[in-house]
């Protein structure tokens, strides 16, 4: 076969978006191991996105919030309804009203009365409008913002009508009392150790046994597909009795063994920093 002059042929090239689709892991690795070490989204590995929060946009709810973080968008609406004590049968409803009151810190007039006639029941509806990356932190932020936004009308028992009457005045309504402000952060771990030499062999520093690992904060949809190991940490400010500082309320980590003892400390530190940012956003929106 006669050889064609290779130099005359156009070199095979394609835009970065194709590269990302064809070899997502190599694409992410190429980004992270470049000189500025930024992710495809332009963020640094530990940089999280600040959520955009709008509250009170749903008029039929007592409290609502729309939260966007990157391509994640979640709507949360909270409606309070009155549950008469006489309507409560022993085994239903699923959650006893006392627990509800305790858990959400519902501040209601009725609880101060000698005889409890009715409870407020909060119906919380969450709708994920668009999803890209771990949904939990965004959903949780939406729920928190909506709870902070919720105002319950003043309610009292009318003995003549034998029913609960609510005040129509907004000035009479009361906000909910929340028990701290727990905020979730999720991270992904991008690990090149398991890709055989083939995948990233062009780069001297990657692949094979001594592969590199990156902890990526607040992963987006593309990065989530490349990360097997995922960590979600929920932190809040310590409640009064046990002193100042931060405490962890939840850790979820599965799908890999990169994050051990030291790394977990680092992740918790990141979550505490994230807490400040999200707290500001949540409080700023109210």
């Amino acid at each position: 076969m006669a050889k064609q002059p290779i130099s005359a042929a156009q070199p095979l090239s394609f835009p970065p978006s194709h590269f990302a689709k064809l070899a997502p892991r190599s694409y992410l690795h190429a980004h992270l191991s470049s000189s500025n070490g930024r992710r495809p989204s332009g963020r640094l590995p530990h940089e999280a996105r600040k959520p955009q929060i709008n509250t009170g946009s749903l008029t039929h709810c007592h409290g609502s919030a729309v939260v966007r973080a990157g391509d994640n968008a979640v709507v949360c609406g909270i409606r309070a309804e009155i549950l008469n004590a006489s309507d409560i049968v022993d085994c239903t409803p699923a959650t006893k009203p006392e627990e509800l009151e305790q858990r959400y810190g519902t501040d209601e007039e009725d609880s101060q009365r000698p005889e409890i006639k009715a409870y407020y029941t909060l119906h919380i509806t969450l709708l994920v409008l668009s999803l890209s990356g771990p949904p939990f932190p965004t959903i949780w932020t939406a729920l928190l913002s909506a709870l902070r936004n919720t105002r319950l009308p003043k309610a009292w028992w009318d003995a003549d009508r034998q029913s609960v009457i609510c005040s129509p005045l907004i000035s009479d309504s009361k906000p909910l009392r929340l028990n701290g402000l727990p905020i979730a952060m999720s991270c992904g771990v991008f690990n090149t150790e398991k890709d055989g030499a083939g995948l990233v062999s062009q780069n001297a520093d990657g692949g094979g046994k001594d592969g590199k690992k990156w902890i990526l904060c607040d992963t987006d949809g593309f990065e989530e597909g490349c990360c097997e190991e995922e960590i979600t940490v929920v932190v809040r400010e310590r409640q009064a009795a046990s002193g100042r500082g931060m405490e962890i309320v939840r850790i979820e980590k599965c799908g890999g063994g990169v994050v051990g003892r030291e790394e977990m400390r680092e992740v918790v530190m990141l979550a505490e920093e994230r807490w400040k940012v999200v707290k500001e956003a949540v409080e700023g929106s109210a």
């Binding site: 962890i248 309320v249 799908g255 063994g257 977990m264």
Partner: protein, 248 residues
């Protein structure tokens, strides 16, 4: 724990194991690699399907959540690239749960489900070992509760679990990595660190003790054997039984 474990109790599954510990009893069965449905097919790896059935009723959100945790963990353990375009099916049936546990009713969806996780992981690991699927490593998992006064409790009773300030499930691979960590309740990094050391002591082979650990953990050196030791002895027994024909 050896006496609470039965390897291959089910004749028709490719591999199975039943475990009893702390009031829970679980049977795990593994079938695979089998043919996979087109939509679940992964071109270069095998799909892993975990099905968890509770002791009473049908599974709900809680079971789906546990299934996803187990699936992600087993994906690290099974050599998924050795069987591309196949399915490995793992079925876990909770046979008995402590009478007082929340797992028996579906009313409290938010109730803790961590106490069930270690035995589910343990029994699926043993079921995998009872098949001949190639694995990259083994793992062991344990539950540690922290009481309100800040004391760490192993093998906590149902009552202790209910009153605990925080619950922690950790799993360690045979390579010493922290494969899984699920914690709930209120705690801080220092408590978690201590839990980590206790759990590592419980799970990992006892002669691998870290020489840098000098504090309270050393008290527990008298403990009979770690989970990994008992896993080893189970496998030794199994191998001895299977190679009996060679010796006589």
């Amino acid at each position: 724990m050896t006496k609470d474990v039965v390897l291959s109790p089910l004749a028709r599954a490719d591999g199975s194991a039943s475990c009893t510990s702390n009031g829970y009893s679980v049977i795990a069965a593994v079938n695979g690699p089998v043919e996979v449905q087109r939509r679940d097919e992964i071109p270069e790896e095998s799909a892993i399907d975990v099905v968890l059935r509770p002791a009473i009723g049908v599974g709900g959100v809680r079971e789906r959540h546990l299934e996803s945790i187990i699936e992600k963990t087993l994906r690290q353990v099974i050599l998924v690239s050795a069987h591309p375009r196949t399915l490995i099916q793992i079925t876990l049936q909770v046979v008995a749960a402590p009478v007082d546990s929340n797992a028996s009713n579906n009313l409290h969806q938010s109730a803790s489900n961590l106490s069930l996780l270690p035995i589910l992981l343990q029994s699926s690991m043993l079921a995998l070992l009872s098949t001949s699927l190639p694995l990259t490593m083994t793992f062991t998992s344990t539950l540690i509760a922290v009481s309100r006064s800040g004391e760490l409790v192993r093998k906590a009773s149902v009552k202790a679990l209910k009153e605990a300030a925080s619950l922690h499930v950790l799993a360690f691979s045979s390579l010493g990595e922290l494969l899984l960590a699920e914690s709930e309740g209120a705690f801080d990094v220092d408590i978690w660190d201590q839990v980590y050391r206790w759990a590592e002591k419980d799970c990992r082979k006892s002669d691998l003790g870290d020489p840098t650990q000098t504090d309270d953990v050393d008290m527990d050196l008298s403990k009979p054997g770690s989970l990994e030791d008992s896993l080893r002895s189970i496998i030794e027994e199994k191998a001895a039984r299977e190679y009996r024909w060679k010796e006589s």
